[in-house]
């Protein structure tokens, strides 16, 4: 095989050659630092505020965003069952579910350290038309697009960030 890597195309060698050629601007151009800053992931969003304040902030944000929620039960004040109309322009008025359900739950991780968790909880449609029962086999059940859910959570996180 005569497959090879062209030596003069390696960044370090290219740079050395260009500097040796005495180009004035060459010295001022630095290589792109492709820091592979691995994205650090967290579950939900964390908070050190007082639990009831956190819940209050979330209800205010949901209200500002036009979402609705079920009245919380006495024994579970830390869970909010949200229903959020996500209306998009339909093509040939196909019946597409437009009410997304999300469960927002506050967890205590340790003293003064709380976690707000968001969970997707299915769709309904505002005209109350029952959803066509999924007729496909279990295996194909999982053609689920997270993007509408991700979009609404970014809206809520932005509202919380702006309010706070």
């Amino acid at each position: 095989s005569t497959v090879a890597i062209l030596p003069t195309s390696l960044p370090q060698i290219h740079r050395a050659n260009l500097l040796a050629s005495g180009l004035p601007t060459a010295a001022s151009i630095s290589p792109l630092v492709n820091k592979k800053s691995k994205t650090k992931w967290h579950f939900g969003i964390r908070s050190r505020s007082y639990p009831l304040d956190v819940m209050g902030e979330i209800y205010i944000a949901l209200k500002n965003l036009g979402a609705e929620w079920a009245k919380p039960s006495e024994e579970d004040l830390w869970t909010i069952r949200v229903r959020w109309k996500y209306d998009v322009s339909q093509k040939n008025n196909e019946v597409v579910p437009d009410l997304m359900k999300i469960v927002i739950q506050l967890f205590q991780i340790e003293t003064n350290n709380y976690l707000v968790d968001f969970k997707f909880d299915g769709w309904e449609n505002s005209r109350g038309i029952p959803l066509p029962l999924s007729k496909i086999t279990d295996d194909e059940m999982c053609t689920f697009s997270a993007y509408p859910f991700l979009h609404l959570t970014t809206r809520l996180i932005m509202e919380l960030a702006v309010n706070s």
Binding site: S1, T2, V3, A4, I5, L6, P7, T8, S9, L10, P11, Q12, H14, R15, L18, L23, T25, A26, I29, S30, P31, L32, V33, N34, K35, K36, S37, T39, Y86, V88, S89, E94, V96, P97, G122, W123, L131, S134, I136, E140, M141, T143, F144, S145, Y147, P148, H151, T154
Partner: protein
């Protein structure tokens, strides 16, 4: 006899590889666990650039929250369009600086660029179909689109690239070892009026060559025609990242100073090499294309991944 045997072996191997591609689906190419990065169309172009570079990717599907649908792919062609637009409208810096991803189609129209195709395919279709579609795709990428079973909205499951397909073939088809005819006999090397430039050529002229020729790389040769480097479409991302909009009169040699140190280098081969070797290289390294040179390093032609894929699907 040996030439006859080589020829027969090549033909039988191609038939087996095509059979393999018809027996698999695009879904089979997907790893068991993988990530897909998607950008909201309301993101600024310059922020999207940060995201691509931070994740070491050069393309990503776009998602329009207003319609809750996918809005095509962001590729290096889009950044080339933005540079060309800015070069023709230097007073429009503000507009370019505040440009959102959703505005890229307007830039495309403003400079009269050919819009990228938005061909896609269902993950369960035969992989052979995706390969044939890939050959006609300008973006050299095919989004795999399924439907959300509750809302019947589109899901981009992943995006197939020529490299991913060739690597999948090299990893799974032992017949690739029997493709032993020299590439000079396959009539697949792009020769003749190759667009090339010199180290001192202004980078904006090289970007025009990329755009007009609808190619993804421009070889850089010295006065004797020897290959010394290559400017790739993806290098444009580094140019914009460095904010070197303002100084597009940089030479291409200076612009290449932006390349990060983990760039693997430009792959060369000669016309005596065989596809078995080139596919084995694809299996082991993230090669973008092969430049064909002679013994003295003079540029003779280029062999893109698309050329190799076309031969595997339709050659002989």
């Amino acid at each position: 006899d040996s030439i006859e045997a080589l020829d027969m072996e090549q033909k039988l191997s191609l038939t087996a590889i095509r059979q393999f591609l018809k027996s698999k689906t695009s879904y089979d190419v997907l790893p068991v666990s993988f990530r897909l990065i998607v950008l909201d169309t309301s993101l600024l172009v310059k922020k999207a650039l940060n995201v691509l570079l931070q994740n070491n990717i050069v393309s990503a599907p776009l998602w329009d929250a207003k319609t809750s649908r996918f809005a095509g792919l962001l590729t290096s062609d889009d950044f080339i369009n933005v540079i060309q637009y800015y070069f023709s409208n230097p007073d429009k810096f503000d507009l370019v600086d505040k440009l959102q991803l959703g505005g890229l189609r307007d830039i495309e129209r403003a400079i009269g660029a050919v819009p990228l195709d938005t061909e896609s395919i269902h993950p369960s279709r035969p992989l052979y179909e995706a390969c044939v579609m890939m050959l006609n795709s300008r973006s050299r990428r095919i989004p795999l689109i399924d439907q959300d079973e509750e809302t019947s909205r589109e899901i981009v499951v992943s995006v197939l690239t020529q490299y991913r397909i060739l690597k999948f073939i090299a990893l799974n088809c032992r017949e690739t070892h029997f493709l032993k005819k020299p590439i000079s006999e396959l009539n697949i090397i792009a020769k003749g009026n190759l667009r090339s430039c010199q180290m001192s050529t202004p980078v904006i002229d090289v970007i025009q060559l990329l755009s007009q020729g609808n190619v993804s790389s421009i070889p850089i040769v010295d006065d004797d025609g020897r290959l010394i480097n290559v400017y790739e479409a993806v290098d444009v991302l580094g140019l914009i990242k460095g904010g070197i909009y303002n100084d597009l009169s940089l030479s291409v040699g200076e612009a290449l100073m932006r390349r990060s140190d983990d760039f693997e280098g430009v792959y060369t081969c000669t016309e005596h090499d065989k596809l078995s070797t080139l596919l084995d290289t694809t299996r082991k390294s993230s090669v973008h294309r092969f430049f064909v040179v002679d013994q003295s390093g003079k540029l003779e032609g280029v062999l893109s991944l698309g050329d190799i894929l076309r031969y595997i699907l339709l050659g002989e």
